[in-house]
Amino acid sequence: MSKYILRRLLMMIPVLLGVTFLVFFIISLTPGDVASMILGNGATQESIIALREEMGLNDPTIVQYGSYMKDLLTGDMGNSYSTGKAVSGEIAQRFPNTLKLTVSAIILSVLISIPIGVISATRQYSLFDNIGMIVALVGISMPSFWVGLILIIAFSLNLGWFPSGGMEGIMSLILPAFTLAIASTASITRTTRSSMLEVVRQDYINTAKAKGVSRSVVIRKHALKNALIPAITVIGLEFGVLLGGAVLTETVFSWPGIGRLMVESIQRKDTPMILGCIIVFAIAFSLVNLLIDILYSFIDPRIKANYK
């Protein structure tokens, strides 16, 4: 098992290398001169040239990439163009906040969606199922930033139950977590339901019934365990969507995470910060997917066998 984990971690490295190269390359396409932007309007021509030299901006992209990667290996992500402070420090400070938000959201999603998905499947075509599925469909159709705004209007401005922004105490976590959770809840519910419907049609479910296994045990022990396998894949994918959605939700709720940091950095054209944020996002996403795959192999003995 640990060999498998090790192998997967090793496989992550070329992918992450690829990501850093891809993002670095994309950002290098930004028009405009960095040095003059940093120095501002009153800068002299010489100071601009000097700064360019110092920052290595005259080197070809590949060389710039190389030196960035070299620094990255020591944990140095460069300094922010706007504050001059270390990027890694800034990110280290704000990342846990994003984590708090996204983890709360995914836990909330899973707790709601799996029971609803199972019940919908076992009571297919019932009122519960029909309403549930329509609600879920609407849920994946609503943009998170709009939901956030509506929730703020309703529960913060009109009812005054929750603060409309910032990160102070658990009350301020609830609205943003809910906002983030809505789309992923809807998606996971739908997947759980369709996966359960598939599984319930399988022959081994008939075998279980023919043994005299009671209905609730058939659902819980025989069907659910199998149905969770594709559901878990979706949970992993949804986490990725959540990370992206965090950018929007953090903006709406003024939540101090790296999503909002990235948006601010884009507005300030703070390239090292943007790069740093994306890399951290990519690493987080890859780790979550790895976790999901490991979880997979625990549930499905067919996969475990392949990686003994």
């Binding site: 950002i27 290098s28 159709s141 943009p143 992206g244 990235m262 996403f285």
Partner: protein
Amino acid sequence: MSTNVEVLSAEELLKTKKRSQSADIWKRLKRSKTAVLGIILIATFLFMAVAAPLIADYQGEALKMNVRERLQGPSAEHFFGTDEFGRDIFARVVYGTRISLFVGLISVSIALSIGGFLGAVAGYYGGKIDNMIMRVLDVILAVPTILLAITIVASLGANMLNLMIAVGISNIPGFARIVRASVLSVKDQEFIEAAKAIGAKDHVIIMKHVLPNSMAPIIVYATLKVATAIMATASLSFIGLGVQPPTPEWGSMLAGGRAYIRDQMYIVLYPGLAIVLTVLSLNLIGDGLRDALDPKLK
């Protein structure tokens, strides 16, 4: 002589079979009430996009700033009220339909053609080519979709073209994967071997035999992806990385109205509803198509 006649009738048979197949699928699609609702909705939006000039005046209502009329609630004159610059929100929503649908369709077309090509090649040839293509796509997939689109637009500059490119590129791996999977499931079937046996060229086989038979999941996927593309457009515009003001776009309208939600919540209500309904209609159609094309549900 007689063999020619037999071959012809086989072809005829195939054509009639295909015709009745599409009629059959349409019939099954119509059976789903939600899919029909989706079709009606999207048709409405399409109509709004195409016939926009007939419904509202672009210069006069959507763009013209009129500070005296700002922040008025919904009325007979302004169905959805006016925004912070006094512009008619209804007109802006109507014209915003054009942007959303256009960007959605174009970006998915980009993703479908490039991604589909890569996926078909990877699936059909397999081996090293498959490996190489999939690995490159894995890199793109390691970054959450929106974030990649944000990065691309942030770097290239925020305008509609770059928006379409960004959303298109971030959807390429998804299309590549689904086309590859479809191709894989079809290519080992015997009629492909038969085509090869009579010496048909590879690209002919792919275009004429493999792709038409793997269309179903791709069509469903594409429909759903137009929905997410429209969402992405609104999201990017919301954070200022999409269509630039004063062009009316639903996402940027929400961004603009954000400061006024306390007292003028209609500024964010209506554009948001437009997004929800458009995306919902496409999801309904996509779901309906998936059920209609599923042979197991016959």
